[in-house]
């Protein structure tokens, strides 16, 4: 199958205009001994055959809609996506356009992203949102870049809570390899009972950034107001990694005084898709806008007096600043920022509040019921939103294996990242989990504990 529309006659006419005899003659500049390698690839399929092959591969997976009951979260959440979201995403005008460099013929993308920016600032309470990053982890790493640029490299210490998503911390370590940073707080062997105030002893005059998560990786809701006040007293910036669904209900990070609020917006209209592509959001105060990486859309007027939108502050970016740019980013997650905007608009204030409330209610019902089972208990007493840690009577890996045999993904095994938390499952519950599913989980675990 091919998407080349040129007929043999047209090809010959074009070759003649170019002044060569054959297609292969166009490639004389290529070293002869390496020219035209035989590629060892399977022969071409037709569309019908490819559709069948891919369908078969997809069918091999156990998915969380048709086969499995799932309580997996840990940074990727199974939420309902209203039909309207994908219908808008499937408009070729949106998904087959490039980055909106030519604003006269890109107002659709530009206004949609401007609205996305506005929705995210209203959600987080912050003043500015960029047009998005690759995912929550890289958005968090960009917060480190912002802080580094803000202090011009004069402060080099970053204090990271061990209850920031382990993969996010890992990405920060990868990203900052060239900065010579000093990292503190990122000690997964510390007692998880210790609250965020313990971090303060690590914050000093050389600290550029404190990174905490809200709710934290264990699902707990902390009010970071005091921590932020204290960090500010030492001159450090504070970044909160937030779950957007939780923000629909909880005190905003802006109200706590956060300087940067980032996170993973996958819960807003983006399917699980085995981990990507997702949508990193990045919001901050207006005073840091010039240090912020990523695309930014601003309002203006055109020469006909019409309100319109353009990419702005592009002088920060790599194509102008080259090696002096804060970041090398050229794209955002355009289409997925559109997904989040349509999701938020279609559910609206009421629908979004319903989603948050359902997550909260169902998670608490599940926690309550699980806590009653012999040998099982909730690990932490702090308030939580839709995710919590369950202490099990045996290693979490064994519990998960037992649940898997009963068609259930039990939760995330925390021992993978926290060696001391061997019997600990991170359980996520969303509006997609019915009472019946939760009851099934409880029943199966009861059976297990009696065996």
């Amino acid at each position: 199958m091919t998407y080349i529309p040129t007929s043999p006659n047209e090809r010959d006419a074009m070759l003649k205009t170019v002044g060569v005899k054959s297609l292969d003659d166009l490639f004389d500049a290529i070293p002869k001994k390496h020219r035209f390698p035989e590629l060892d690839l399977p022969p071409a399929l037709t569309e019908m055959e490819a559709a069948s092959l891919l369908s078969e591969m997809a069918g091999t997976n156990e998915n969380v809609r048709e086969h499995m009951i799932s309580f997996l979260g840990a940074g990727a959440y199974n939420h309902y996506v209203p039909a309207v979201v994908d219908h808008m995403l499937r408009r070729g005008e949106f998904y087959t356009a490039y980055t909106p460099y030519q604003p006269e013929i890109s107002q659709g993308t530009l206004q949609a992203i401007f609205e996305y920016q506005s929705l995210m600032t209203n959600l987080t309470g912050m003043e500015v949102s960029n047009a998005s990053h690759y995912d929550g982890a890289t958005a968090t790493a960009e917060a480190v870049n912002l802080a580094f640029a803000q202090f011009r490299g004069k402060r080099k210490k970053i204090v990271m809570s061990p209850t920031v998503h382990p993969q996010y911390r890992e990405v920060i370590r990868t990203y900052s390899q060239g900065m010579g940073l000093e990292e503190a707080g990122d000690d997964v062997s510390v007692n998880p009972e210790v609250g965020p105030e313990a971090l303060m002893s690590l914050v000093d005059e050389s600290t550029m950034l404190v990174v905490v998560q809200y709710p934290d990786f264990f699902g707990r809701i902390h009010d970071y107001t005091k921590l932020i006040e204290d960090a500010h007293a030492k001159g450090a910036l504070v970044c909160i990694v937030a779950n957007p669904t939780a923000l629909l209900m909880l005190k905003t990070p802006a109200d706590m005084g956060a300087d940067i609020v980032v996170g993973e917006a996958q819960p807003f209209g983006i399917p699980l898709w085995y981990g990507g592509p997702y949508l990193g959001f990045f919001t901050t105060k207006k005073s840091y806008v010039h240090k912020m990486a990523g695309r930014l859309i601003g309002e203006t007027v055109d020469n006909r007096g019409q309100r319109s939108y353009v990419l702005t502050l592009t002088a920060r970016e790599q194509h102008i600043k080259r090696e002096r740019a804060t970041s090398n980013i050229c794209t955002n997650q355009g289409l997925l920022a559109l997904a989040a905007a349509v999701y938020m608009s279609a559910l609206g204030k009421t629908g979004l509040q319903q989603v948050a409330n359902l997550c909260y209610q169902k998670a608490h019902y599940a926690a309550n019921e699980l806590d009653k089972i012999d040998g099982f208990e909730l690990c932490f007493a702090e308030p939580f939103f839709h995710e919590f840690v369950l202490c099990c009577p045996k290693p979490a890996s064994e519990v998960n294996e037992y649940l898997l045999e009963h068609g259930i993904f039990g939760g995330y095994d925390l021992s993978k990242d926290y060696p001391s938390l061997n019997n600990h499952l991170l359980v996520a519950v969303t509006e997609m989990n019915s009472k019946q599913e939760i009851d099934t989980l409880v029943e199966v675990l009861k059976e297990m504990s009696h065996e």
Partner: protein
Amino acid sequence: MNSTSTSLSAKIIEPTVFELSSPGRIGVTMPASDVPETALPPKNLLRSELPLPELAEVDVVRHYMRLSKFNYSVDDGFYPLGSCTMKYNPKINEDTCRYTGFLYTHPLQPVETVQGNLVLMYELQEWLKEISGFAGMTLQPAAGAHGEFTGVLMMAAYHKSRKDTKRTKMLIPDAAHGTNPASAGMLGMSVVTIPSDERGNVDLKALAAACDDTVVGMMLTNPNTLGMFDEHIEEVVALVHKCGGLMYGDGANLNALLGIVRPGDLGFDVMHINLHKTFSVPHGGGGPGSGPVGVSERLVDFLPSPLVGIIEEADGDTAPLYGFVTPKQSIGRMKAFHGHFGGGLVRAYTYISMHGPDGLKAISQYAVLNANYLQARLRSTYKIPYDRICMHEFVAEGSFEGSDVRALDIAKRLMDYNFHPPTNYFPLIVHEALMIEPTETENKDTLDRFADALIKIAEEAKSQPELLHDAPHITPFGRMDEVKAARELVLCCWLPENYETLK
């Protein structure tokens, strides 16, 4: 900060979702709770208000439909944006990437339950290695620039592992895309710019002079942003390798090379591949992209973790078990989870499976034919500063002697002829550059209409220059005041101040 609009007098063509909102209007609703009620957290942990829009579903659909019509896209017409490879995006990709089994798999579920995803990723890794000639491949990077950063991190890690710590210089040709120096800058390397010679190749003398034992490597786009395949590529690679440097290939222009030559065979050590350019993943109005990175044998151990690998070999009738493996000296993780699986990898896999070796070669042959055909048709009207057989794109000068018309005016005027303009003002080494990449998915009629339009515009530039200065005329929006946008910085909007009392 609450200046809702700087442009109060401006005419509103399409209101924002905040302006369309009405108190109490209901959109998509959720089911009632089926569990006993739990009290909410204490009030001091709750937000006081949620200032988000309220719309009905029909309002939402019409709003985004109207917005979509303000966009020009590949589905609308010819989009010859140089170095962006705006080829047609096959519709089947949009279906396969949404198959239930792909859409609803969680990134942390046990590998035994996602063998379909893992086989797809493993085979795609193998295919991309075969196409590019590399020994190893990571699918993790989220975009081209992300892949570049990954590559540069591996180059640094390689030298560090050999205790070769003097190396701090990255060599980058003057024609390079801005991401190349920015990626090197992110690791604190200094950038040495290498000039191009009069045929658009790397200037070998300048390169030789810059090569010493402080060189990390060279970042080269080949074919470069002039659309030229470097005629001395083997000498370039040899010079860099001889001084102990590594060769980075920017894969932005891979659409010219499928089945034509493999960068790995030419001696490149590392290269990112833009699945959203070469392998038909749609650009999405600026992402998500997908930027796998291939490496030569000596960098395999430094690849990001995790990679997809076989964790239990096949045994008799049992298929192998695919899972995740960590390279020995990995630079670490580049993003959460496993890369742009659904949006990037499934589409690219679908596309490659439908082409096979001959189909892939045809893509590059016709991409190059189309570019050369346009170049031949425009040669007598527009100055082509580097005029030889080009690869998949070429650069013309968008200015004429004795005229004040600029490349920007030509670009804007093309919109009136229903074409997306070429990339302009890039590469920086060409005066008033117009960088034209037609791709293989356009027919001769389209190319002829585009060439005719550009020739007509060249005439207009002489006879009615104001027609170009004021262009575009027939688009829904005219030229924007970009200075105002940067000066006033209105970056978001809110519900009107008196919202609750409205209506």
